[in-house]
């Protein structure tokens, strides 16, 4: 019983960790290459989930097709976000980027409230109803699918960054923007592609999590603070750092929540963040964009 309880908690933690990873890697990617902290990340996640709701529940589209569509739409929104706003912000204009993305977050959140109201909506995927229970550990299929999506997203990004010319150019811009532009890498196009990829990850997160949680305008707020903590602990711009910390955090939260109390887990996340900032200001894995 006790061992089985531990296994259940570990499984819960790993799955929640994958959810955190999905949210954190897009955030980390955009910071690594543009130097912009996207405070509207949680709202883009919310939009991804809302779009999934619109496609699946309202238009009756296939869920898997919808995931791809949502990612494409998110990428297009990313391009618009870059061309309209982010390209006007320099790498070191932190205050402007903060005000811009925070303002955007407020507009998106309140806009969603005004348009769709505060009532929670549900995305139901009949194919994903039910549980798998290896070793008596109960894992809902929706969560298993989100886990798979997170792993796929993570490996897709690693492939993009290491095996494609675009990815190599992204890494070049991340490690030294000036040198990258000297050798003829168009920083502007790379930044645009980065925001598109970052928001596509956000859309993937929204689509993957919509069948698990309820879809409503405030669904992103608490998650995104955790994502920030993860990115900071992992090292700003370090994708593998973010992923490792995300999984570790999921497991720690799940066990501390179960054995101590749930209200302490929130405190622990941010206490760890502060400790890391004190002793390793660049984060556990921080040193520019590394994967």
């Amino acid at each position: 019983m006790e061992l089985q309880y531990l296994l259940q908690l570990a499984a819960n933690g790993i799955v929640i960790g994958s959810v955190y990873a999905l949210l954190a890697i897009g955030l980390s990617l955009i910071f690594g290459i543009l130097g912009v902290v996207n405070f509207a990340h949680g709202e883009f996640y919310m939009l991804g989930a809302t779009a999934t709701y619109a496609l699946v529940a309202l238009l009756g589209l296939d869920y898997w097709v919808s995931i791809v569509l949502v990612m494409l739409v998110a990428a297009a929104i990313g391009i618009a976000l870059h061309d309209l706003f982010l390209k006007r912000i320099g790498r070191h204009e932190f205050e402007r980027s903060m005000l811009l993305t925070l303002g955007l977050a407020m507009i998106l959140q309140n806009g969603a409230l005004a348009i769709w109201g505060a009532d929670p909506k549900f995305v139901r995927v009949p194919a994903l109803s039910g549980l798998i229970s290896p070793f008596e550990v109960r894992i809902p299929l929706t969560r298993a699918a989100a886990f798979a999506a997170a792993i796929a997203g993570l490996f897709g990004l690693i492939y993009l960054l290491h095996r494609t010319r675009l990815g190599q150019a992204m890494r070049a811009v991340a490690s030294n923007p000036t040198a990258a532009s000297v050798v003829g890498i168009p920083a502007n196009l790379i930044a645009r592609a980065t925001v598109a990829v970052g928001l596509a990850m956000c859309g993937l997160a929204g689509a993957a999590l919509a069948p698990i949680y309820t879809v409503h305008p405030l669904m992103g707020t608490l998650f995104v603070f955790k994502a920030f903590a993860i990115v900071i602990i992992g090292g700003m711009g370090s994708l593998s750092g973010a992923a490792i910390v995300a999984f570790a955090l999921g497991i720690v939260e799940s066990t501390v929540g179960a054995y101590v109390s749930l209200s302490t887990t929130e405190g622990i996340v941010f206490a760890v963040m502060i400790a890391v900032l004190l002793f390793r200001p660049l984060g556990l894995f921080g040193r520019g964009l590394r994967v």
Partner: protein
């Protein structure tokens, strides 16, 4: 006397008679303040429906003390500042005899000092905050009377229900806000009073996205029920994940069963996944008693919709106030206050509305359960 003069004299007499009867019938002004605009506008509308219906029924029978009632309503937008403005207007401009309101507890708390200073009775039909009772009656403000059960009273009702069900071990889950903390405190006291052991209390932040750890933990605690104090979005998220994870511990508390049912799939309901889940309501229009059926029929005939908690409690609060004015024998605020304090009013809910030392009444509440494949059933009335 010419015919003309004679007619004139008759007219004079008639006029005098009419004006004097007009004086005797100067109406009694009742004030209502509630939230008629903003997010709580629907609730405010029902507040008004209830008061209007009660006054119309009273007026149809000739009012009380031979005088009719008129209503002055002022919007408070569920904001304490607006509430103070609304109450001031009712007191000094309209000079009302008594006020009914103010729906949102924060507004009620804000206007209580005003009505005390103005020595005007306030009947509180909807605000359930436990903070109101300790300030009323013995607590200092003997002009405020609450007809609705408080959150603490409702926790007591849940405790009585759980005792009936033979529950031995409980856990409490609450959001980390005034509402959740207050609910958990009330529940802790209620469980102590009925002798049920409380194994654990967990607080979680509002808008918590993930409930897996919580649900796994509760199932491992081996408790008979978990009392949940969450508000609507979180309730739905909770039950959605409850279904996905196949959680087993039955839930009780104050959740609306319609909200709970909406959060899960019809298949899950049909196979009894939520059977045994319960929620306490201050009122439910489906209550199958002759008194309530009669009330619901009259309400529907008038407004073409079903009454809700707000309309019902405002209706009865108005009736309680009118009955106190009749017993006072005169439209005098002090006499009405004394009459209110001695109220013994038979509620449609089957309980007796009478005020304790803190001017709090302990009417019945309704426990609703899901059973037989997720069907909604009223399982009983429990005193608050």
């Amino acid at each position: 006397m010419t015919t003309q003069t004679r007619m004139g004299v008759v007219a004079l007499f008639l006029g005098a008679a009419m004006s004097s009867s007009g004086m005797a019938q100067e109406p009694i002004k009742i004030g209502l303040t509630s939230s008629f605009t903003g997010t709580a506008a629907l609730f405010g509308q029902h507040d008004r429906y209830g008061v209007e219906m009660a006054l119309a029924e009273l007026n149809d029978k000739g009012g009380v003390l031979g005088r009719r009632f008129v209503l002055e309503a002022e919007d408070n937008k569920c904001s304490p500042a607006e509430g103070v403005k609304a109450a001031t207007k009712l007191l000094s401009e309209h000079k009302v005899t008594a006020i009914i309101g103010a729906m949102c507890s924060s507004v009620t708390l804000a206007i209580m000092p005003l009505i005390q200073r103005a020595e005007t009775p306030l009947v509180i039909p909807v605000s359930t905050s436990p903070a109101i009772s300790p300030l009323s009656g013995k607590g200092g403000n003997n002009w405020a009377f609450r007809t609705t059960p408080s959150d603490d009273g409702m926790a007591m009702a849940i405790g009585r229900y759980l005792k009936d069900k033979g529950v031995k071990r409980m856990a409490v889950v609450a959001e980390d806000t005034d509402y959740g903390r207050g609910g958990a405190r009330g529940m802790t006291e209620a469980l102590k009073a009925v002798g049920i052991s409380l194994v654990a209390t967990e607080f979680i932040p509002q808008n918590t996205p993930d409930f897996t750890t919580l649900l796994t933990k509760i199932d491992a605690m081996n408790v008979d029920r978990v009392a949940v104090y969450l508000l609507s979005t979180d309730v739905q998220n909770f039950f959605r994940q409850y279904e996905a994870l196949g959680a087993r511990t039955r839930v009780t508390g104050r959740a609306e069963m319609s909200v709970v049912r909406g959060a899960v799939t019809p298949e899950f309901l049909a196979k009894g996944g939520l059977d045994g889940t319960s929620g306490l309501n201050p009122y439910a229009f489906g209550l199958d008693t002759p008194e309530n059926k009669d009330f619901v029929a009259r309400f529907r005939a008038r407004y073409n919709t079903d009454p809700i908690q707000m309309s019902f409690y405002s209706y009865e609060a108005t009736k309680v106030l009118a009955e106190a004015i009749a017993r006072a024998g005169k439209v005098d605020r002090h006499a009405i206050r004394e009459a209110l304090a001695k109220t013994k009013y038979k509620s449609i809910m089957g309980g007796q509305i009478e005020f304790d030392d803190f001017n709090q009444s302990h009417n019945n509440t309704i426990m609703i359960e899901l059973k037989d494949g997720g069907k909604v059933a009223i399982v009983g009335l429990y005193k608050s």
